[in-house]
Each structure stands twice: as structure tokens, then as C-alpha cells.
Symmetry: C2
Subunit: 652 residues, 2 copies
Amino acid sequence: MSKSRNFFLENIPLDEAWSRFITAMEEVWAWDEMPGEEVAVDEALGRVTAKPVWAELSSPAYHASAMDGYAVRSTDTIGAMETAPKRLAIGPAGPATYVDTGDPIPAWADAVIMIEQTQHIDEPDGGESIEIHAGVAPWTAVRPMGEDMVATELVLPANHLLKPVDLGALAGCGHAFVNVRRKPRVAVIPTGTELVTVEQARRCGLKSGDIIEYNSLVLSSQVRQWGGIPTRYPVVPDDYELIKATVLEAAAEHDLVLVNAGSSAGSEDFTSSIVVELGKLLVHGVAVRPGHPVILGMIAGFNRPVIGIPGYPVSCALTGETFVEPLISHWLGLPPREQPRMQASITRKLLSPIGEDETVRVTVGRVGERAVAAPLSRGAGVITSLVRADGIVRIPRFSEGVEAGQEVTVELYRTPAEVERTLVHIGSHDLCLDLLAQYLADSGRRFTSANAGSLGGLMALKRGDAHLAGAHLLDPATGDYNVSYIQQYLPGLPVVLLTFMHRQQGLIVPPGNPKGIGGLADLTREGLRFVNRQRGAGTRVLLDYHLGKLGIAPQQILGYKREEYTHMAVAVAVQSGLADCGLGIAAAARALELDFIPLEMERYDLVIPRIHYESDLLRPLLELINGQELRRAVAELPGYDTSHMGEIAGQW
Amino acid sequence: MSKSRNFFLENIPLDEAWSRFITAMEEVWAWDEMPGEEVAVDEALGRVTAKPVWAELSSPAYHASAMDGYAVRSTDTIGAMETAPKRLAIGPAGPATYVDTGDPIPAWADAVIMIEQTQHIDEPDGGESIEIHAGVAPWTAVRPMGEDMVATELVLPANHLLKPVDLGALAGCGHAFVNVRRKPRVAVIPTGTELVTVEQARRCGLKSGDIIEYNSLVLSSQVRQWGGIPTRYPVVPDDYELIKATVLEAAAEHDLVLVNAGSSAGSEDFTSSIVVELGKLLVHGVAVRPGHPVILGMIAGFNRPVIGIPGYPVSCALTGETFVEPLISHWLGLPPREQPRMQASITRKLLSPIGEDETVRVTVGRVGERAVAAPLSRGAGVITSLVRADGIVRIPRFSEGVEAGQEVTVELYRTPAEVERTLVHIGSHDLCLDLLAQYLADSGRRFTSANAGSLGGLMALKRGDAHLAGAHLLDPATGDYNVSYIQQYLPGLPVVLLTFMHRQQGLIVPPGNPKGIGGLADLTREGLRFVNRQRGAGTRVLLDYHLGKLGIAPQQILGYKREEYTHMAVAVAVQSGLADCGLGIAAAARALELDFIPLEMERYDLVIPRIHYESDLLRPLLELINGQELRRAVAELPGYDTSHMGEIAGQW
């Protein structure tokens, strides 16, 4: 089968694309703010006022006592002193009458004396009085009518997002209903013959080529979060007429139509042609990455905007943030959402193409005086990069990228305070770090981890990019771990070398070990495909050490140059049949139900600069490492030995 | 009727109160995090994971093409060059097969060549080929199985607040349901015989002593906003047994019971006795202000915490923030909510009692280089002080207050970015400022206004506390407005004096003018009660000027010393019969349907330091003042003349 492109994508700068879109909407009133609708005040939380609201009643609606006490005429109290108390008879017409907090004060009164400042007297004649020891000024302890709100005064402006106290104010000045902007209705139409629902996937399993459809779930949730009402359509197969009919039906009933995906220029990318047929194609291709194949258009008959949203999950979610959120905010009369920003130093060099605005997901933490931003996967298909992101960095289209160590602005998905209590780990990855993160969360610490291999972690410590680095670097000369590497790579940096655990390294092979692999010597066997770890990984160092002992040269091994970055990626390569074996930890083999040939128990340490080791921030981590709870949890995992956990293996 | 206190309130420091509360809950497991419940992933937005979630399926579930193009064996492409292209036949078993983005690559292939980098050839034998001009490395344009998530790997930790992309990741790795913490159920019980609903108030009007009940609306909305499920009970009258029965019923069905109010120590404050009878009273009175009369307790039979919440609306809302929110967050496994903070200079001295933590509501803006925080009303009954607040300042209990100009920490209710685009007005108040605020909002500017009188405004400019000050200060010597005051009070500060409008000042009298007041000469009449404005108010200056011309001394006027701070407060005093007349603007009289005796059209200017006048921040304000839209809106209000709007009345 051969295919060709229908046409090529444009590469329109974001601001130009956005401005074309707005202009087209303005022409047909689709850029107007949403009309108002009356809702009960007790259902108006989070809604936005469509008009200014004026008080209907004053609050308080009368002159009210601010205390439990006695209403009096201030003139009657003049001259009362500790040495010469005054006595006021209690009676409904004065000169003293009891009032509770909030009670109206009688018309003849102009002040209230707190009950604690009065003495109650039973008079011989059966009457009652109070005795007071000080005079009071007029209006003491009185809340004048309208103190809070005066009828006819402005209480809330238009375009105000209603908080709990706002609702109280509305009810307090006599409003049972409030006029709020109608919620924008947004149709979310997933298209694609290859798509299955997660329910189908669970029921019937996934065939090769099946993709679980979840972009419409993300888009619908975004719409709901931003204040709109989503309609999530069932998946429409790649059929031009079916998609067209669905778009048309959706346009009739919604303020905005989102079509996902088919927004590119491939053979089954129908969205642009459909938009051309049904109305006007304004933009096809925006100079952003991820998220280039975006379509902006108008459906003619209903004058409704339509957005074709790219299919890669990260592109999809970011397109929602870029185009859908500002539209909803505008319709609701709200200012554009503003993320908190912070300056941070980027931990590694990022190349970015000239001509496209690029969005890079990062984790962020403060290491000593510096805030550091560590880039996550830039793959548009890696939704977990957004799940784990603490924020994003934008590389503008007239820039070729950023250098390692360069200052960048991070738009935070978290509060700056969360960043302050984040422990930044860069180094070798191990499943136990996930456990550690879980336990640390209970102590109010966040733990972010970037996999850079053991040596990469030491280099990160040298640059001041991380609080700690997990490492398991075997020194072939001594048989010890990490010590000589620290001496070589971190001279002059005071660090503590803390043992986390020992773990089983070995060969990961398919279930049943079909090739009958017995050890590393078998790797040179004709046709046996190995999968390796990247340079600088402790596991690769371990491999090279043992190959050296066995006298095996790298070029004797098929696949020695095929590098993966994690134990799990090695296990996946074996599971999927791309490789016959790889070196990795027992836990990764167990996780994917693969077989495992043990090679060596290796020590996995945490390398921690002393300045962080002694900091408040890391104290909970040290408590966990030295306590019993985490030790028990790690010991339960297959292939781990915790008998040396918490021991200091060296310090400099 | 005489009353006495049941007992006095304690004054327990906040941290001690909170620790007693937690300890009691820990004893009976009521401090435990909420148990999990399964919800569909598409209903889980904003919920919190109760357990870590591990991937059930890998994503992608197979090696997938990352592009539209041809799957190939990389070894087949070696040697292809621009000058020596290679030709690969198209066929299902290779060496080239078309794949769409997302398609699985065939088992024999290990790379994909983008369609744009191939040339399609129709072979003479009827077959098809592609021609390529460069070799590709293994795994080019292939997303390996598990690139995003590997089955069995951790996807989300426990206690994670679910965002839209998280839901996508959950579905993407095979989860149709997710285990989330049950939402805490919170009973909100309003008590008080004086309370009416806003619906009742609208239907039957308010009798003197009636109070519209809205605290339960605020508390319920807070609970919902923080992630709980509120049950808002109908108002329970002040009847010990009724309230007790309601609390007991609520405790059986909720995780937390809130009783509002009756939490103080007055004659009808039953809550503490009820808590004593039903369980344990832990705290009665916390050393905070507002919000002192708080009750913390446990209901014994059901082991449910109960909070008695004070009745003043500000105390009520702040008690929600102080005690209810952290409880709900803890139950949901979330860290305590963290407001963004900023340092600001407080605009006026605040005295605060030793021994109590005080919460002061403030508006915040940045004036030049300084952030300034202007305190709002400290009255616990003034809910609008919370509505208008940009944040709060806490004055700790071991402090006597803060001096004007002192640096304080503001916990912001807004983002720092909102603060940056805030125009700070301090000075004379006028209804037109509300209009101005409305129009400015459309230009992306916030406008906060503090009423300090005309002279107070000039002093604020002198201190650098405001961007602009509204002023209408008549110079008796010249008959001109503001000029001589600016020369006297702001020497050396370059300012622009911009005319906003002219407005009608006059005497505000009850409808029908029952006392037959004709002008200022009548103010000396026997028994006629006047209400004055505060010193420094332009209206007071105007009064004194005319009194001087008429030869009337202040002491000849009954009520000259009774000061109100706004035109509306003067109008309210007249409307409620506390005064027979006052001096103020026509608009205030009209608003409350009072009669008005015109005295003089006065000029109301905006005094703007040149540095702000020329700033970006104020540009939208100048555009409005010089445009037609605002002019028309002001001209429509009774008593305003806009013919000089936008004229520069002086500059220095």
C-alpha cells in the first residue's frame, strides 16, 4: 500500500494564529462573552457574575448591638466612674435594656455596654438595675445600619469569580439568585479507527495497533476544570462523512467543537478538509512543538469555532491549554489564567529548532541557593512527562535552545512553596526510590527523580543541580562501590556516602530461558541479541567489569551498542522479543514476569553533599533511611537486601 | 429582662487548641485519612488517590511508528546517499511497508522513514518502490513499547490530586476505575431564632431584629471548594433540646459537625453545654481575632469531631479556613493549602491586643518599587472586607501591632501577577470610582480603592502608598480645588492634576423634607440633628468654607462632631432617623430615595504622581478618562457633570 500527503502543514506563529482565530470569531459574535443566566446563590460557587450586583437590602438592616449587654443612652452614662458608679434601671423603655449580640438597639438608645462591664442589682422595690463604672461614647458597641452593605451600593462587579464569602455577601444583601455567565458548551469528538475505550481494552484485551482513547477524557476534564460543560462523544471511526456529520451535529449544540485527531496532513487526516467544506479553515499548522498540527476554523452555518487537536497526548493537552483555556476564560469574562513563575537554572542543554515555540516539561526544585529545572522526556507521546511535570519552560521560536546552566523562566504547575520542599534526585534509577517518594510525602517532602545513570548523578552533584544522587559504580580495582568515583569526580566537595540497599543484578531473559543462557559467557554466541544500558550507568560499568574478567571484547557481543536508559526498558526489549537478554535488576524481571539469572548483589548508595545532608529539607529522608518502616517495605521487594541500609560507607 | 454569662471564654493559643483537637481525634481514629472508594476515571477529576497506582498495560502496547512513513530494516538502508539513492520494494513483508503514525511496525522492521523523505516509484513490472537518499539508524521514528508507561511501573503515588492529564495516564495504562479517598461529609447546622433565609426575607421583608442567615452558605461552599460534601441543615431555633437532637443526628451521618453559632458564652449560647453533654469539650475560646469564640469538641457515641463556629460572618469564614480546611485536607491526604505570600508595606498603623493572633484583611498593590497593603475594615461583621480582600496579614499574639510603613507578610488570595496589575487608589470616595473599576477590568487592570478622604489621599501619595488619589478640596481663598493643597502637602513631588468630573453637593434630608430645611443657615436651628464627615474629607472642608461665609460656628450645630466616613453612611444616618440632615453628594441621596437640597457643583480631580501618570500600568485609566464610554456612563448618573473630564487642571 502506498500513501501520499494531502498537502503540507503551515507553520504559523502562535500569536498570528490566535489573532486570525479571534478576528474570525469577532466577525460573527462568537468572541462575545457568554450571556447571563439566573442561578440560585447556593449553586453559584465558582460561577462568574455577568453583571455588577448592587445591594438590595442594607446589612445590618438596623442599628444592631455588637455585644451581649445593655442598650443605654450615652448621655445617661456621663460621669460614671469606678469611685462613683451610676445605676440605671432596667426596663423596655430604658434607661437600660438587655440586648443580645445582633439584636436591634431600641430607638431611644445610642450605645451598648458589655454585660461584663455591668453589675446586676436587685432593687428593694423588686425592680432591677445595672451599675456601671464608666461612661460610654455614643455608638459604642453598636453596628450601624448598613455598616457592611448599604442598599443600592455595588457589592460585586461583573466578571467576578464567585468565592464562598461572595455568596454570603450576596445573600446578606438580599439576593437569592445571581446572574452569572452561562457555561460554554464544548463538544469533544475523538476520531480514529484504531481507538478503543479503556473499558473495551479491559474486556477484550488490546490487539496490536489498538490504542486506548483517552485524549477526549483529558480534554473534557480540562474543559470542566476551566468552567465549561464538555460533551464527550463516542469514538468516530476514520470515515469522512461520519466525522463531518458528527461535527455538524456538535456545532448545532455547542459553543466550541474540538476534533481529535486527524488534524495533520496524512492520508486519513480528514479534519482540515471537513472544516474547508463546512466553513472556513483559518489555520492549519502552528509553529509550536509539541502541538504543530493544529487546525483553527469556523463552521459557517452555526458560526461556531472549531479546533482540530493533534493526536499525540502531550500535544493534545498542551493545545487545550494554549487554545481552549483562553477561549473559555474569555467567554466567562475572566482574565487569562496566570501560572506562578520562577527563574531556574536548566540542568542540561536543550536544542530547539528555530522557527517553532517549544514547550519543555520540567521538574523543579531548589538546591541550596539555586532553583534548578530538570527537563523531562520531550516525546509528544509521553503523557507521564506532563503528569510528572512541575512546570513548563518555553523556548521561543527565534532561539536555538538553551545551554546547561542557563537561567530560564518556569511556568509552574505547583506553588512556589511546593518547590521549596522538593528533594531533587538525579542519578541511577531504582524502584525503591518510588517507595521512598511515597514515604517522604507523609513527611511533607516531594521527591523528584531524573534518571541520568550513576555517573550522570555525580556530575549533577558537581554542578549543584541535585540534593542527592543514587549510584552503584563498581571500582574494578578495589571491588568497592562509588568511593573511588567520588574521589575522582567530586574532589573538594564534602559529601556523605550513605548505603541505601544491596540489589540483585543479573541477566534478564524471556520466560523459560528459551536460548538456554547460563551467564555472560553466552553473550558472544552467534545470533544472540543483547540489549545494553547507556554509558555512565552503573549496570554498564558492572557489565564491562565482568566482560573484562572473562576476556570478552564489546565487539563480540551483538547489540552491545543498543542502549536503553532504564532497567524497565531493558526488560521491555526482552519481553517484546527485540533482544534475547539484557543486564538488569531482579525487580524489573519479576515485574514483567521474565526469567532472571543472578550475577551479583551490588551496593546501591545515596551520595549526598554534606550541606544537604545536614539540612532540614533532607532530615525526613535520613529518618526514613534509619528507621524500620522503609527498611521493611524494601525488604519485601524481590531481589533486595536491606541489612546495610543507613550505614555510612564513607565521607569526605 | 436581665441576663448573665454562663461562663467565660478561654483564650487558648491557636497551636495549643489545634493540638488538643488532633490528639482527641487520633485517640478515636477520627484523624485517619479517609478510606478509598472506586470511581470511574472519567469522574475522578479533582479527587485524590487513596493508593499508589501501577500501570496495568504498557503504553504504547507495541513498537509504534512515530510518523507517517515506511517501516524498514535499518540494515537495508545503509549506504543510501543523495548521489546514490537506494530503492526498496513496497510489500507487507518488506523491505518497505507503509505505516501511519501510531501503527505497529512489522516484526521484521526496526525503523521508520518519514514519507516526506521518500520518493514513490511505480516499477515497470507493476510493483511499487520507494527511493531513499539517506540511511536511518535503528529505532528512528519508532516509539518503543512502554516508552510512556511500562506495565507494573508506578504511574501515580497515593495522595495525588487528580488533574486532567493524570486521568489520561490512568486510562492509557488500562485503568477504567481509580481508588480515591472518600469525600469527607460535613454537616453545617445554622442555629438562631433571629435567623431568616434570604428567600423568606425577599418574600416577607425583614422585621427589625431579623438577620439573613448566610454563614451556612459560606461554610457549605467552603467545604465543597475544599473537597468535602456539605449538608446544609435548615435553621434550628435557639432551643437546647432541638439543637442537641440535630447535632446528634448529624454526628451519626457525617465526619464533621459544624454548629453556627451559639459558640460564645452568652445566655443563648448552647453549643458548649451540648458538646459537654454529648461528648467532650476540648477548647472553648481560641486566642484569635476575629473568631475568638470557637468550640472544638468530640461527640462521644460516634467519635465525630464537632466545631462550634462563631456567628460574625468574618469570624465564621476565617474559622472555616483555620480549622475546617486543614481537617478536610488532612482527611484527603493533601498537604495543607499554601497561599502565595508576598512582603508589603502596611499603609497605616494597626494596634492589636497582646495575647491574640489577629487576622487583618488587606488590599494589595505595587506602587513603584514597593508593594503596599492597605487594611480594610476590621469589623467581624463586615463580610465585604473579605469579599474585597486581596489577602490577609497576621499579627501574632506576642505583638502589639504594626507601625505604618512596616514590612508585613501578606498571604494572598490572589496571584502575585494580579497584584502587579492593580491600581491602588486612596482618597475621597465617589460612586464613579466603581464605574471606573468596571471599565478598567476590561483592560486587564484591577482597581482597589480605600476611603481615606481627600487629604488622606494626598498623604498616601506623599508616603508612596497609592498610584492616585481622588480629591475635591476647596481652597476658600481662591475658590479653586486641590491646587493649593497639592502645593502645600506634596512639595517637590511631580504630579498631574486630572479632572474626573464635577458633582452636586448638597444637604441630604428625609423624603419630603419634613423639617423644611432650606439651606446651611438652618443647621443652627434648635434640636435639628446634623451628621458630619470626618476631618480631612473634602465635603467637610466644603461645609466649613460655607459655614465661615455664613458666620456660623461649629458649636452652634448639634451633631457637628458626629463623623461618618462615606456619603452613603451620611445618607443612612438620615434615612434611619438618627440625623435630620447631612452634607453629601446627590447620588447618595438618590440611591436611598432621600431628598436633596443642592448647594454647589464641586470639582473632583484625580491627583496622580507623574511617575505613575506616565506608566504602562495607568495607561488604560488615562484612555478611559479621555474616551467617550466612561464619560457617557458617568453623565447618566444623577448629579454629575462630565464636561471637563480629562482636562489637566495643573501639573508640577
